[in-house]
């Protein structure tokens, strides 16, 4: 799905988290929002997911205005920073949650839910962990379950907030490839937030560098490396 961000601004009280920013994300792209903490990248992601409402500006999905669309109706697969798995539910129930939450008319029957969850568990290469609780999983497994749970609703886009932030270096590398594979397999427009430039450069087709609530540069990883547009970008990527 093509996502268009048109002059989106967000302020919390007197502090501006986002100055008007505009960005066009083509359908099927894998985009990184890169920046230090406080750069507004997570706020932008949350606005796309419908968890935050912009102070001004519009969001368009495939040309249709989606600014006022409720979080439930956006069908954005959202992966939270600490994964936010439901602690009191098994992995199976976590992944099935979105399907069970559908209105009765469009809710799949039990057998179909079961089939889809099994398929998703295979997709994340953890077919055996359905009956376990989130606390019984490793960090990497939790991240993949969170991804499967987000994919279960057949989302129109995938939004990930620091998806590798809580993992150690080795698992991080593995899961980067995992996300790349899932993106290529599903063809979903995918946006992830990160403060780690290696991660952004290695994984994304397109990197959006942000600072202080503004977009500093948008470009392919190699272009940003070779031709930083502003002093901030030059500093940030040489760090």
């Amino acid at each position: 799905m093509h996502i268009e961000i048109d002059e989106i601004a967000k302020s919390f009280g007197a502090t501006a988290a986002l100055h008007p920013v505009s960005l066009s994300i083509p359908s099927g792209a894998l985009v990184a929002l890169l920046g230090p903490s406080g750069s507004g990248k997570t706020t932008l992601l949350r606005i796309l997911g419908g968890l935050e409402f912009p102070t001004s500006g519009r969001v368009r999905f495939d040309g249709q205005d989606a600014t006022g669309l409720s979080v439930q109706d956006r069908r954005a697969g959202f992966v939270f920073q600490s994964y936010a798995l439901f602690r009191h539910m098994t992995v199976f129930e976590n992944i099935a949650y979105g399907l069970r939450a559908r209105p009765r008319a469009s809710r799949p029957p039990q057998a179909e839910i079961s089939r889809r969850v099994t398929k998703l568990l295979e997709l994340i290469q953890l077919p055996e962990i359905g009956p376990r609780y989130p606390t019984q999983l490793s960090g990497g497994q939790r991240q993949r379950v969170a991804l499967a749970r987000a994919l279960a609703i057949e989302p129109r886009m995938l939004l990930l907030d620091e998806p590798f932030g809580a993992l150690d270096a080795k698992v991080r590398k593995e899961l980067r490839q995992g996300l790349r594979d899932i993106h290529d397999e599903t063809g979903l427009t995918t946006i992830f937030v990160t403060h780690d430039q290696d991660e952004a450069m290695e994984l994304a087709d397109k990197v959006v560098v942000m600072s202080m609530g503004r977009i500093e540069q948008v470009g392919r990883p190699q272009d940003i490396r070779t031709r930083p547009a502003t002093p901030f970008v030059r500093d940030f990527i040489s760090a």
Partner: protein, 288 residues
Amino acid sequence: MSDATHSAAFRSPTTEAPLARWIAIGVAVAGVSLLVFAPLAAVFAEALAKGWGAAVASLGNRDALSAIKLTLLIAAIAVPLNATFGIAAAWAITKFDFRGKAFLITLIDLPFSVSPVVAGLCIVLMFGTNSLLGGWLVAQGYPIVFALPGIALATMFVTFPFVARELIPVMIEQCRAEEEAALTLGASGWRVFRTVTLPNIRWALLYGVLLCNARAMGEFGAVAVVSGKIRGQTATMPITIEMMYNEYLSVAAFSLAAVLTLLALLTLLLKTGLELRHADQLSASHRH
């Protein structure tokens, strides 16, 4: 001696010397026995002073039975209502920012600091026959004071903070992320509350409800003022116990007191039972 210094050198920094440990345990055990266990045992001893027969017979008394029924009825009214109010208050305080939030928190705590007798008097002043509202209600045939509604109101006033107080810290500690995740998965607000919020707070809620229940059954001061102590009609268990005791019916008084104590122990037992049964989920939701 050298042995002692040796073991002391390898003691974990968070444990104390054996002497300190035994003193701490001793003080705790002595305190609990002297202040809690001995008086409770005395209640049962007094109740059974003239044998089981006399104790059971005194409970078969019409006044005692009516008191037990009334107390259970009041708890059945006050506890669910206060659980609902408590959840709503804790929800409002922890999930939203609004004007007067600090004031609301103070109001919730108010029943803890106001003497129950004062609470009872407030209800008499508001709903008594001499007040405007009370007079009108009596004329319509709905007396509040010296009747069931007054006792329920007084009990609810006194037990209001228990559920909210248990829930607020738990709900503050919980981040919004799980609820937000449920929303992005398409769940409605009510569904999020039912399937995510409520399961996460259920143990605190249970604990709050049990405390609320124990206090609702045991409340004396506020109820004494509003009930009028009409034997067989508005006398709850604590009130009846006091009246019987004042009339030197010590077996009857202590038998009823023993029943009240058993009701409290039953709720504690219920809580422990539930915890054991759901131990796996409990540990799953607490371990990190």
